[in-house]
Symmetry: C2
Subunit: 496 residues, 2 copies
């Protein structure tokens, strides 16, 4: 097995990111489903965006140093919906959505937790875009310009992003005479990590955090590197044992066919590819991507894993053997397509930006060692460092996240430190393997569902939502209500 094939599998894929000619893959941390995975009935009225007013804040480029360049300011975008706000006199709460590795626009319509609960909390809603994404790119540069400048992209870090959020939240509170309004920060995936870290680092700015599907433990040696793919495997096994076996057996079959004369063209024909395959690896990457995405976004009511497995299980075995079944799975998940195994779309900001974030500090050692329906592909740090060096000229800092934010022995550390964090997860989400799944203290708590997928709790509600999802959201709202009630009571006691 060649190194490049290993690195393909181990680090993984949502969008294939090719930077400086070097391929880098990572499972998406995004909460945004692609439309193909969504139930069409799920569509939310875009009129929701009309309720938001857009602002730009003069943000400090570098909060932690006092070099002349540090004082440079750039325009950071945030949006406010004040339709529901109870106002200054009631010290009504402020819900802040912490943008993550994509433009903030998508969150306005897709993240329902804030808009759907604003009325009952009389909350002001603030959505802040993460620096270097969307319209919040320093120095008036394009995203590509900023990311290609070794000096400028150097300010693209999580600690800077958290400090950005703190300054904007304090600015909004001051502008609206809301100094006593409790702030609840909400984020999903990478944004969920940011939310939990924000409560830990800035408790004087945020009263509490809802950290949805935040894989805060996927750093350093805290959890086994195969945690992510073990859950993907379990999801398929749980959906169907025969489906799981078929997939597990398919990789060597692809390898076998690929090695035949004209192997790639046989596979291209078999899978009705839109463009001829260049190798068996190309097909395998596509399939891994398909399965991982299905597991991560295994949302009700369709449950993409079940859709794929039904396709696989219901295919006639006699027709094309194992690969015929695999193809039936592909077809089942893409009913509207006329050809498959599409070439990679244009690189998204998310894919490119996250490549940088992974290569600098967000070093998540995701590999496949065993107990998996995939071929093995361990994460090898030295290879990863080489790849990052080749792409960006920097060595990843694999210990920085645990140094700055912690993570080791999190139960021991946080049982007597910190408060007011919800770590929410759905156990079908492979990222939940790196989530906090135990209550750590009275107010640092885990709220999870057996069947939930990635960030499902904060995604907009749907008429078809199952009871367990409705209950999860209610539980979270109840906990946040408790924090706010206690805060108001403290506030009264404090004034006396």
């Amino acid at each position: 097995m060649t190194l490049s094939w290993l690195s393909l599998i181990v680090s993984f894929i949502l969008s294939t990111a090719s930077v400086s000619g070097q391929k880098l893959y990572a499972p998406a941390l995004s909460l945004h489903r692609e439309d193909v995975l969504r139930d069409p009935k799920h569509a939310v009225s875009v009129s929701i965006t009309n309720d938001f007013k857009t602002f730009f804040f003069n943000q400090t480029l570098d909060h932690f140093n006092y070099r002349p360049e540090s004082y440079t300011v750039f325009q950071q975008r945030y949006l406010i919906n004040s339709n529901y706000w109870g106002g200054t006199n009631s010290s009504a709460p402020i819900f802040v959505f912490l943008g993550a590795e994509s433009p903030i626009d998508g969150a306005l319509t897709r993240v329902g937790f804030l808009t759907e609960n604003a009325a009952q909390f009389e909350a002001l809603l603030v959505y802040i875009e993460h620096r270097y994404y969307g319209e919040s790119i320093p120095l008036g540069m394009s995203f590509e310009e900023a990311l290609n400048d070794a000096n400028i992209r150097g300010y693209f870090s999580s600690a800077q992003a958290l400090a950005d959020y703190a300054t904007i939240i304090m600015h909004v509170k001051e502008e609206r005479n809301a100094s006593k309004s409790p702030v609840i920060v909400v984020g999903g995936s990478y944004g969920g990590m940011l939310a939990s870290w924000f409560r830990l680092k800035y408790p004087h700015v945020a009263l509490g955090a809802l950290a949805s599907s935040a894989p805060v433990l996927y750093f350093d040696d805290i959890i086994p590197q195969d945690a992510y793919f073990s859950v993907v495997t379990r999801d398929f096994k749980d959906a169907s044992e025969t489906c799981y076996q078929t997939i597990a057996n398919s990789w060597s079959e692809i390898d076998r066919v690929a090695q035949e004369p004209n192997g790639s063209s046989i596979l291209s024909k078999m899978f009705k590819t839109c463009q001829p395959l260049e190798s068996g690896d190309e097909l395998k990457n596509y399939l891994i991507y398909l399965y991982v995405r299905a597991a991560q976004y295994n949302d009700p009511p369709r449950y993409p894993v079940t859709v794929i497995c039904n396709g696989i299980d219901e295919a006639s075995a006699t027709e094309d053997g194992i690969l015929g079944k695999i193809f039936a799975g592909v077809v089942a998940s893409n009913r509207s397509s006329t050809c498959y195994v599409n070439p990679p779309a244009n690189l998204s900001q998310t894919a490119l930006g996250w490549s940088w974030q992974r290569c600098s500090e967000m070093v998540m050692p995701i590999g496949i060692t065993n107990n998996s329906m995939f071929q093995p592909g361990p994460f090898i740090l030295s290879d990863f460092i080489d790849e990052c060096n080749a792409s960006f000229g920097v060595a990843p800092q694999p210990h920085w996240v645990t140094t700055y934010y912690g993570g080791h022995d999190i139960e021991l550390i946080l049982r007597r430190f910190g408060s007011n964090i919800i770590f929410s997860n759905g156990l079908q989400d492979p990222w939940s393997s790196a989530g906090v799944l135990k209550n750590i203290s009275e107010s640092v708590v885990a709220v999870y569902t057996e069947k939930g997928s990635h960030c499902l709790d904060i995604i907009s509600g749907n008429q078809t939502d199952p009871d367990w999802l409705i209950m999860q959201r209610k539980t979270e709202v109840g906990i946040i209500k408790g924090w706010i009630a206690q805060y108001y009571s403290d506030l009264l006691a404090f004034k006396q």
Copy 2:
């Protein structure tokens, strides 16, 4: 009253710092008394330094960014005394002294809290030098070179210093197989602020903090700007009402004499100055410095405030009027001198370094408005900004400390967040006016004495120490023992 005179008084003095031709003054935040203020019996054997081994750590210049320059490393000094350590198997604790705005050397002999308690805790002792002081100056530069380079001095910040401490502590724990050893950080004055902030920002690195005389509330608008000088005034009033009155009346008398023909030379003769005075202001600055220093370091058994007041009160009034009395106070505090009102000594690293830290982020608005034995001199932020701009070409960031570390409503915020911090103070210390003097929660507590001075509790013990000081130290040790006992019990429970 001219602006320069105002700024002389308001910002104040320990060493007169002249940077780029602009004078900048600030009360010292150092825990180090000058020898003249110390009881000679207080001398600690320097053999204590033989127990320490010196190390240098390859420290990252910029922890928060990933610019090419960020990866530069420099040599940071730390020292370890392992004579008392219980070792890996016992998970014996590690006491870490966080260096502040001076070379670390002085702390080895003067800070007794760690060495005097090491045996009973079987603690490893680690003293870490603050970046840009002593031998921990980046890029092999001299202190002056680093401070004169606008780019390099830009990395001289408290957030970087805390991250330095975290990386060195984690390195020491790893090297000594001490991953389960609880860490207690100790610091005084600015170092005390760092200690409390370190526990808040890095709870996964330090189990608890002893923050001695840490004026964490002297930022933004948290406390009135005249808090510091109010306590100086109260100290003198408490020592002697007549002494206080004499001092209060002396300033206008100095002004009157100074305005006479040859006024400066009359004052020079009256005060037996080592060099002729250039102005009345020079004398006033010297006196303010003398009184402030006496109040801040009003240590037993001599109690410098009482010494000065006895000198003032016992002087024959008939001899030279008010100024004769004032001069008698000067003489009383400097018995070994043959002349007085010495010209400023060479600028210390502390004075220069702290000027930079104040002008960048440690903006403490210290002024004199009323209720003081001094002439008024309010802190005017715009003037301060102008001075800093003239000196360093940067605008101070007066809101950064409260943004990053908090401070407003500290009781409200920390009553349900954080744990294991002792804020210790002596109420005679003018800095105690900005200290935490109330228990905030069960384990974020205030331990203070009515008679204590600046950082007295962590200074080496002395045979003449009064009972209240011995008790304060015992209380602190008892609290830390409690934290460690609870930690060991948590550790056991956690393993099960």
